[in-house]
């Protein structure tokens, strides 16, 4: 079990890694920090009961908080027309990624969480299911729908001159 005395150390050393996941989930820096701190604060109350390494637990809290906490302000997080980073004209790879990033923002939250956990965290379907508290079947179907939606996204289709 994790010792509560190690919580501050965990925050100091591991939270930046978790911030990246939070950022990929929310798509926005401030919301990511909010989500991360919320997940950390939630985890603190269970810190003494966490069996094993705390990071998977915190990641799970992060993912489920994002996927289910519909009342929070990052629920309505959608990509805007103005991107934080302006693409360099003519750089097609940057444009493609921006289009993919925007398309990612249109996904339902649980689908986005599945995609982030599967392709950023490199979690298996079973691990993703455990992290989100859903069945493996749900992870499969959510991932399948998310990828299909991304493939059908008009921006991506246009940037590639057709479907993928």
């Amino acid at each position: 079990m994790a010792d509560r005395g190690t919580f501050d150390e965990f925050v100091a050393t591991r939270s930046q890694v978790l911030l990246r996941t939070a950022y990929l989930l929310t798509g926005e820096r401030a919301s990511a920090e909010d989500l991360l701190q919320t997940a950390l604060a939630k985890s603190w109350f269970a810190w003494g009961r966490i069996d094993g390494a705390p990071e998977p637990y915190v990641r799970r809290v992060l993912a489920t908080t994002y996927a289910t906490w519909w009342r929070r302000r990052w629920r309505a997080e959608y990509p805007t027309g103005e991107l934080p980073e302006t693409p360099v004209p003519g750089d097609s790879s940057v444009e493609d990624r921006d289009a993919l990033w925007r398309a990612l923002g249109t996904l339902p939250r649980r689908q986005r969480a599945v995609i982030v956990l599967r392709y950023y965290e490199d979690l298996s379907e079973a691990q993703t299911a455990a992290a989100l508290g859903v069945s493996v079947g749900t992870v499969k179907s959510q991932a399948s729908r998310a990828l299909a939606a991304l493939r059908r996204d008009p921006d991506l289709t246009n940037s590639h001159g057709g479907g993928r």
């Binding site: 501050d8 925050v11 100091a12 939270s15 930046q16 911030l19 990246r20 950022y23 990929l24 820096r29 990511a32 920090e33 991360l36 701190q37 919320t38 950390l40 604060a41 939630k42 603190w44 109350f45 493609d96 990624r97 993919l100 990033w101 990612l104 995609i115 982030v116 392709y119 950023y120 990828l147 991304l150 493939r151 993928r164």
Partner: protein, 315 residues
């Protein structure tokens, strides 16, 4: 493969996320706030439970005015007979439209319930025919089987106004049913009085709790036997009083000032704040008492400690 593009996108996007040097402090602040919310939430939960309880008392069948101890409806049996523990029903009438009647208040200060039973929901109005025209309303909307019921509690002052004489005419109240069909209207009297009933004029008590709340003694003559009863001791008391009566030969019995016994069914039950202990012949024999014998009766208070009781008679 879009999966590979996603991996590349994610790696690219998280590459330059700045760190937050205040994160630990900010998380700590959130934890502190959450703990405060949890404590507040627990307190709020207690308040909500209390509010829920209060709300329940306002649901149909639990009118606000219902006195403490009166159970929720139904207040009538399926045969349409009032049945509320602690109350007796000296006046029950069936009406199908506005009618005028005589209602008199009890000779002592009681609480009253105005009960109605109706075929369709509606509001019943009891109106005094005097110049002041005091009224009481009962919402007959609590469903009980194929009928509806309603109740309103009246304190002694309200009853005095409602049941006051209207003048030369002996009829003093009008019943005004609020929907078609037969309405059963009952005025119930509490079996207990509001406080101790006043002493009988010209008849001093044999023993007064006001001066000896824990008990005492008095003398009585054993009466001639009648219908299997050897001695009757009458007591004015408030609910909760219990008095153990004994003679040198043993215990006669205990007067339990329980207002929930129905005086219509139990001759010894409390009525208008007075209760009687009927000591059968066999118990009188057991304690070696004979008719005509003068004896000392000892009273010991075993219920609530109060001076609100008095031994009225022993005959």
């Amino acid at each position: 493969m879009i999966e590979n593009e996603l991996r590349a996108l994610f790696a690219d996007r998280v590459g330059d996320l700045s760190t937050n040097g205040r994160r630990t402090a900010e998380v700590r602040a959130r934890i502190k706030a959450a703990r405060r919310r949890r404590a507040t939430g627990a307190a709020l939960a207690v308040v909500l439970v209390a509010l829920a309880g209060a709300l329940l008392t306002r649901l149909p069948g639990r009118p606000d005015a219902l006195p403490t101890g009166v159970p929720p409806g139904p207040w009538f049996t399926t045969d349409g007979v009032p049945a509320v523990p602690g109350y007796t029903a000296p006046d029950i009438r069936d009406v199908t439209g506005p009618t005028e009647h005589v209602l008199v208040p009890a000779p002592v200060r009681l609480r009253y319930l105005l009960l109605v039973r109706c075929e369709r929901p509606g509001t019943f109005v009891l109106r005094n025919l005097g110049p002041a025209g005091a009224t009481a309303e009962v919402d007959c909307s609590y469903r009980a089987g194929d009928r509806f019921e309603g109740v309103t509690a009246l304190d002694p002052a309200a009853a005095d106004r409602l049941f006051s004489p209207s003048g030369a005419d002996s009829l003093n109240v009008r019943y005004e049913p609020g929907s078609p069909g037969t309405w059963t209207v009952a005025v119930l009297w509490s079996t207990a009085t509001v406080g101790l009933r006043p002493p009988d004029a010209g008849r001093p008590p044999l023993l007064d709790g006001a001066t000896s709340p824990d008990g005492g003694t008095f003398e009585a003559t054993v009466p001639p036997r009648a219908a299997g009863v050897g001695l009757v001791v009458s007591v004015d008391c408030v609910p909760g009083v219990k008095l153990e009566l004994s003679v040198p030969g043993g215990v006669l019995g205990t007067v339990d000032c329980d207002p929930t016994r129905d005086p219509a069914r139990d001759v010894g039950a409390m009525s208008e704040g007075r209760i009687s202990l009927y000591v059968p012949d066999s118990d009188v024999d057991r304690v070696d008492l004979r008719p005509g014998q003068r004896t000392r009766i000892t009273v010991r208070s075993t219920g609530i400690r109060t001076g609100e009781w008095r031994i009225v008679s022993a005959s």
